[in-house]
Amino acid sequence: MFLHDIGIIPVGDKTQTPNSSGPKITNLTRRGFVVGSSLFVVGVALAGCSRYEEPKIDPDSLDLPAAGPSPLTNVKGGDATPALWIAIEEDGTVKITCHRSEMGQQVWTSMAQIVADELEADWDNVEIVQAIGHERYGDQNTDGSRSVRYNFHRLRLAGAAMKQMLVEAAAIYWKMDPSECEATLGKVGNSQNSDTLSYGNLAKIAAKLQVPEEAKVTLKDPKDWRYINKEIASLTVPKITRGEGTFGIDVDIPDMVYAVIARPPQLFGKTGAVRDEKALAVPGVMRTVKLPDASPPALFKALGGVAVIGSDTWAAIQGRNALEINWVDGPNAGYDSETFAEQMIQTAKRSGTVRRKRGDVAAGLSNASKRVEAEYYAPHLSQSPMEPPAATARWDGDKLECWACVQDPQATRQALSDLLEIDKENITVNATWLGGAFGRKSKPDFVVEAALIAKEVDRPVKVTWTREDEVRHGYYHSVSAQRLEAGLDEDGKCTSYLHRTVFPPIASTFSPGMDVPTDGEMGLGATDVPFNMPNLQVESGNAKGHLRIGWLRSVSNIYHAFAVQSFAAELAHVAGRDQKDYLLELIGDARTLDPGTEGATYPNYDASIEEYPIETARLSNVVNIASEMAKWGRTMPSGHGLGIAVHRSFLSYIATVVEVAVSPEGALTIPGIWLAVDAGTVINPRHTRAQMEGGTIYGLSNALFGEITAKNGAVVQDNFPSWRALRMGEAPRAFEVQIVKSNSAPAGVGEPATPPAAPALANAIFNATGHRIRKLPIIGASGSRLSLPAKETA
C-alpha cells in the first residue's frame, strides 16, 4: 500500500470540488495574468487593505503537462521518488516517512532534517510517519550505523525534487518561468511581485507533475543548509517527557490477551511433560499453549516452551511461575562457558587461518630484539535494552498483522512468512518505537512467538519478555580469545605484528556447525588494523556456537579493539614510550589503506573502499585532538591515570581518553572522558554527541561489569544485578566530545564510540596502577572494586 492509497499523498486526488466560480486562469496569457494580477494588487491597495490573500488553487482548473513515471526509482541508495517519502497536506503539514526504526539514535529527526532541508520545509510543520516493513523503501535494517550513510543522498534528492515540483506548480499557476520562482520555508515566491503560494496549496498540483530526473535536480550547497549539520531538537523527546509515544511493549489492540513464555533453559532443549493445572488455577490465567521445539539452525525461530495466556501480564507471569515442566536436554547440554574459554585460549595459541598477510611475520618475530606476547579474553554479553522484546500479533484466519519493536521490519515480515508459511502479501509489520535495541531487536524471534500464539488462541496476543527472559534467552555477543605477538627492534619500534582471534561466528546462528569467523567479523577491527610495520599477519581460529550468537552494538569491534588497542599500549610500555606517541607511530604516516591488497577479504562495512578508504591521517588527527582535550601528559594525582585508544569502525574515526582514579583498596571511579570523532558529514551535532556518550558508556558498562556465562548449556545470569549495567553514580562526571568538521561522506555514529572505550579504560587503569587488564569484565556483576591481576612485570 503506497501512501497515496491511504490518502496521505494527494496523487490524482479528484475529491476536491472544483471551484467553478473562481477565476479561470488557464487561458490567460502570461502577460495578461501578470497585468491582471498587478491591477488586482493596486485595486486592493486603493481599497485601503494591502494584505495579500493567497488564492485557493483548484488543480483541476489548470492544464498540466503530462507526467510519466518517476525517473528516481533507482538512484544511489534506492528509490528517491518524492511521493514515497513526502506527503504535504492542505494545511501545510509536511509528513515525512521514516523507514528506519527509532531507537534513541534520533533517526526520526535526522531523516527529517535531510528531507526538510532540501525541501525547504518549515520545521514546525514537519511530522513523521513510521513506515511499515516493505521492500519499496529499500534497506530497512536499522543496524550497522548506516541509516544516514545509506539514505543521505536519496533523501536529499527526494526533498529537492519535491521542492522543484512545488516551484514548477507555482510557476504554472503564475504563468512564469520556474527560474523566476523560489521556495523558502514552505512557500514559493517569485521575482515579479510579492505574492506567495504555500506548499499546502501547491501540493496537489505538484503531485501531478513530472518527477525530474537526477541530473536536473539541484541539491543545496552545504553552506545553505538550514537543518542539516544543525542542532535541531529531537522530534520524539517532548512526547517522551509526557509518557506518550508507543513502544513495542505499549501496543494495545481491542480484545487482546497477554502472554509470557517458559522457554527451555538450553538452546534447542526440548519441552517434555508439562503439568499446567496450578498455572490454570492462577486468577486471570486463561490457557497454556505448547510451542514447537526448536531445532538448528536457530535463525529467528521461536525457542519452544510453553506460553501462558492471561487477562493481564501479571496473571501470565504468575501462571508461568506455577508451570511444572520437565525440560529435556538438547545438543548444547554440555556447554560450560568456563571450560569453553580454556579451549578457545588453547586454540589461540596454535597457528590459525591467515586472513591478512604483509611481509614475513615468523621471520620478523624470530629476528626481533624484543618479543611481546599477550592473550585477551572477553565474555558473552547481552544487549539488554531497557525495553525487553515485546510483540503483538493479530491473525484473522487469512491475514497477519504485527506490531513490534523491531530494528528490521522487512526481515521480520520475511521471517514470519518463512516460519509460519504465510504469503508475505498477507503480512503487515508495524515498527513501533524501540526502547533501546543495541542489536537485540534485529532478531524478530519474539514476533514469531506472538504470531504462533495468535494463530493458536484466535485472539490478538501481546508477548512480553521479562528481564529474565531477555538475559537468559538472547542472541549473545560472541565470546572471544585472542593472542597477539609483536617483535620490536633495538629502538623499541614494532617490526612484526601477529593477531590471532578466536570466536564463534554469528553465522553459527544461521548455519549449523559453522565455526569459522567470517570476513565481515574479521573486518571489524582485526583485518583492518591500520598499523604500519613491515611484517603483519592476522589469523583466525575456529570456535563453535552453543548459544544463539548475534550482533551487539559494534559487534566484533568490541573484543578486537580491546585486544589491539590494549596491546598497542603494552608495546609502548615495553618500549619505554608514551602510549599516545607510540600509538601514533604504530599508525604511521598519512596514507590510505586497503586490506584487500594484503590478502584480506574486507567488506569495509558494505561501502566502497574508494569512497570510504581507511585514512590514517584521520586516525592520527582524532588521537591528537582527544589528547589535547584531555591535556595528555599532565601530572596526575596518585592513583589517577589517563589511557587512550583509537579505532575506526562503521567508517568513523574515534579516539577516546579515559581518566580513572583507583583508591588503594581498588575502588575505581572515572573522573573524566574526552572523545574526538570524525564521522564525515554529521547531520545533527547534538545527537552525535549523545551517541558518543552513550556508545562509550555502553562499552565501559560491558567492560566493567558485563558477563554472560553458561553452565550445563543454560545461561547463569537472569536479571539486574546478576546481569549488571553501569548506573548514574558510576558514570563519569566530565565527558567532553569534539566533532571534527568534515565535508567527507557521512559515516556511522551509533556504534563506533563503543570499541575504543574498553581499551582506553584498561590503558588508564594500567597507567594508574601498573596492572594490565587482559580479561573482561574488569569488576564483574558482584564486585565492588578492581580485582587486580598479578602486577605487570614486563
Binding site: Q105, I240, G243, F247, M386, N719, M728
Partner: protein, 151 residues
Amino acid sequence: MATTLNINGKDETVEAAAGTPLLWVLRDHLKMTGTKFGCGIAQCGACTVHVDDTPTRACITPHDSLAGSKITTIEGVAGGAADAIRSTWIKNDVPQCGYCQSGQIMAATALLEENSNPSDDDIDAAMSGNICRCATYMSIRRAIKEAAKEL
C-alpha cells in the same frame, strides 16, 4: 476484586487479582503505558511513580495496598519541579530511546521537590536506582542542575 485508586487526582476503580502490582494495573487495566516495565524486581527504576509524593517502584507495589493513597504517574506529574524537569529535559534533548525516562523524570522530580539545589553526590544518590542503557546519565545530571536553577 474491585479497588479504587486515586491516580493523578482522579479516582479509578479497577478489577484486578489481589496482589497485582500497580505497574500492571496501570499498563494493562488502565492503559496508562507511560510507566514502564524494566525488571519486575525494583532494580532498574523504569516503573517509578509517586505514592503520596514518594518515589515508589510500581512493579513490586501491590495495587490493593494503595487504597487511600495519592498516586502520581508520568502522565500526571505536575508542579514547579516537574515543569522545570520537563523543560530542561526538552531543552537538552536528555532522552535517547526514552524508555527509562518516565522513571528518570519521576525520580528527578522527587529529588528536586526534596532538595532544590542538589550536588553531584545528591544526584548520584537519588538517581542511581534508575538504569539507562542509552547512558543519558551525563545529560540527566546537567538537566537536573539547570532545572534547579529554574526553580
